[in-house]
């Protein structure tokens, strides 16, 4: 079985972003970029499936600018066998990404597609679900456990009330939650080897997909800043402030 993993280049999760002075967008110049943490978990899961002998090949795919090849190389260093880069400088939003991934699914015929549950920049939490709808495949989102069992995959999902386990026919789409696994770090020899692994470059036009969307970004603002308050010296003072100043007790 082939496993396809979608990875996204995003701002490093440790970076606190700033909004541009003209409010047109956030300022990403010279900001450290990295693979979306949920995508790292997706790559790790795919590689583990290969190590267990369930998967035979792991293919990583990204949609984004030239620089996104760094994240594909990371995926290759972590154990993916080859990569596909769909290059675009346009702002590709979830629906366009899902359409492109659907074309790749059609071409590659994977048994399982693993995506992150959300990208930590736009926090949309949509792409996997959209891909499932477009390909007509079942979905197991927010996965904390994935078990392939013959013709089916059992997915345990983190839902608001706790955990839910569902069974899906294969092929299927899975999106990862935080506790699915702990991703490994790439070792130096693997990083070197990754440079020689195959990486195909395509464009959205190759797949006949229009990247433009009907959603426009009018303005980006900073949220209302919260100012730190005071330090209290004791539990008594805390209770007094909460009762008499904040009036929340």
């Amino acid at each position: 079985m082939k496993v396809l993993v979608a990875v996204k280049r995003v701002i490093d999760y440790n970076v606190k972003i700033r909004v541009k002075a003209d409010h047109s967008d956030v300022d990403l110049t010279n900001v450290k970029m990295a693979m979306n943490p949920f995508c790292e978990i997706a790559v790790e899961e795919a590689v583990r499936l290969k190590e267990k002998g369930v998967a035979t090949e792991v293919v990583a795919v990204t949609v984004g600018p030239k620089a996104a090849q760094e994240q594909l190389r990371t995926a290759l260093a972590l154990g993916a066998d080859r990569a596909i880069h769909i290059e675009t400088d346009e702002r590709a939003e979830s629906l366009a990404v899902a359409k492109l991934l659907a074309k790749v699914v059609e071409e590659e015929q994977p048994g399982l597609v693993v995506l992150g549950k959300q990208a930590i920049d736009t926090d949309n939490n949509q792409t996997g679900q959209m891909l499932a709808a477009l390909t007509g495949l079942p979905q197991g989102t927010f996965a904390s456990e994935v078990a392939v069992d013959g013709e089916k995959v059992h997915v345990t999902r983190e839902i608001d009330g706790g955990l839910q386990t569902i069974a899906l026919t294969l092929p299927a789409i899975v999106t990862t939650d935080l506790r699915l696994n702990e991703p490994r770090y790439a070792k130096l020899p693997d990083i070197m080897k990754a440079k020689k692994k195959p990486l195909d470059v395509k464009t959205p036009a190759d797949y006949g997909v229009e990247v433009a969307s009907k959603v426009s970004l009018l303005k980006v603002e900073s949220p209302a800043e919260r100012k730190g308050g005071v330090k209290v010296a004791s539990v008594d003072e805390l209770i007094d402030k909460l009762k008499n100043e904040a009036k929340v007790l």
Binding site: L95, P138, Q139, T141, A167, E221, R226, V230, L238
Partner: protein
């Protein structure tokens, strides 16, 4: 304008979030229908009919919709969406699971986690863990939106809207329900509680979370946690507050043994009053706390419980 709101259910009952989504729908304006889909959901439909602002409740009560699995729910919404200009759901794990399928099948974008309505086509939503607020305009013919409950005050319950059955039945041979492990708790839901007390890695272990129980009892609070506390296995996943967990905005949020990472702040920084209890006086949580108490939580919590 005509709006369809997908009701959020919790164990077959109407979840509190729905009343917040209807408030968002009222700001868009127009007729508001509520879709209650599941198996054995008549009581939830009747509860939805009481919510102010609802024009009618549509009930799809069939075994195929049990547990609101994504595939049949998406297909049902596609069947119904033709009557509407907007389809809204709460940004709960159900809304997030189902709505993008509708959007993709209708070839429109989805706006996730909307926190404010500027007009019928322009909305505000947080991006980058809430460190920026984007104003976005959708020119799609159908607007598909998930709503963050904390952005809108719940509507009241003085209505008695008509309830009608939806007879659309879809097929589903791709996914099936296996089991659910739901955390049983007598405490209020995290998302709707007026007071939340959360513990972090500083709690040390799961047993120590009992130190929060007595205080939560006295304050009628829900108990939350940081990701580190959940990852370490102290408490179950449904308690995680943050960018990738639950978003809360209670009147009072008490963070105990939590450092204040941006991903945690993303889930609680819109709380009215924040209290932080931490032994490290440099912990970033103090930068957002209205009242900070520096000290050992193992001494502070018992004292706080006894003095409340």
């Amino acid at each position: 304008m005509s709006i369809l709101v997908l009701a959020d259910l919790h164990e077959g009952q109407l979840a509190g979030a729905t009343a917040h989504v209807i408030a968002a729908a009222q700001q868009i304006g127009g007729d508001i229908d509520v879709l209650v889909a599941g198996e054995g959901v008549q009581a939830a439909a009747e509860a939805a009919a009481k919510l102010d602002g609802v024009s009618k409740v549509r009930v799809a009560d069939n075994a195929v919709y049990a547990h609101q699995l994504a595939e049949p729910m998406g297909a049902l919404l596609v069947e119904l969406a033709g009557d509407y200009t907007h389809v809204l759901a709460s940004a709960s794990t159900t809304g997030k699971n189902v709505l993008p399928r509708l959007a993709a099948l209708k070839d429109v974008s989805q706006l996730s986690d909307v926190i404010a309505v500027d007009s019928a086509d322009t909305f505000k939503r947080p991006i980058y863990a809430g460190n920026a607020i984007a104003t976005v305009k959708s020119d799609d013919v159908l607007k598909v939106i998930t709503v963050r409950s904390t952005g809108f005050d719940a509507v009241g319950e003085g209505n008695s809207a008509p309830v009608e059955a939806v007879d659309v039945v879809v097929e589903n041979s791709q996914s099936s329900f296996v089991k659910e492990e739901l955390a049983a708790s007598d405490r209020p839901e995290l998302g709707g509680a007026k007071v939340v007390i959360s513990g972090g890695r500083g709690m040390g272990n799961g047993e120590n979370f009992k130190l929060l129980d007595g205080i939560a009892d006295k304050l009628g609070a829900a108990i939350g946690a940081s990701r580190a506390a959940v990852d370490a296995g102290f408490v179950p996943n449904d308690m995680q507050v943050g960018q990738t967990g639950k978003i809360v905005a209670p009147d009072l949020y008490i963070a105990v043994g939590i450092s204040g990472a941006i991903q945690h702040l993303a889930g609680m920084k819109d709380s009215k009053v924040i209290v932080a209890i931490n032994k490290d006086d440099e912990a970033p949580i103090f930068q957002v706390a209205d009242y900070g108490l520096v000290g050992d939580l193992f001494e502070i919590l018992p004292e706080l419980e006894s003095k409340l």
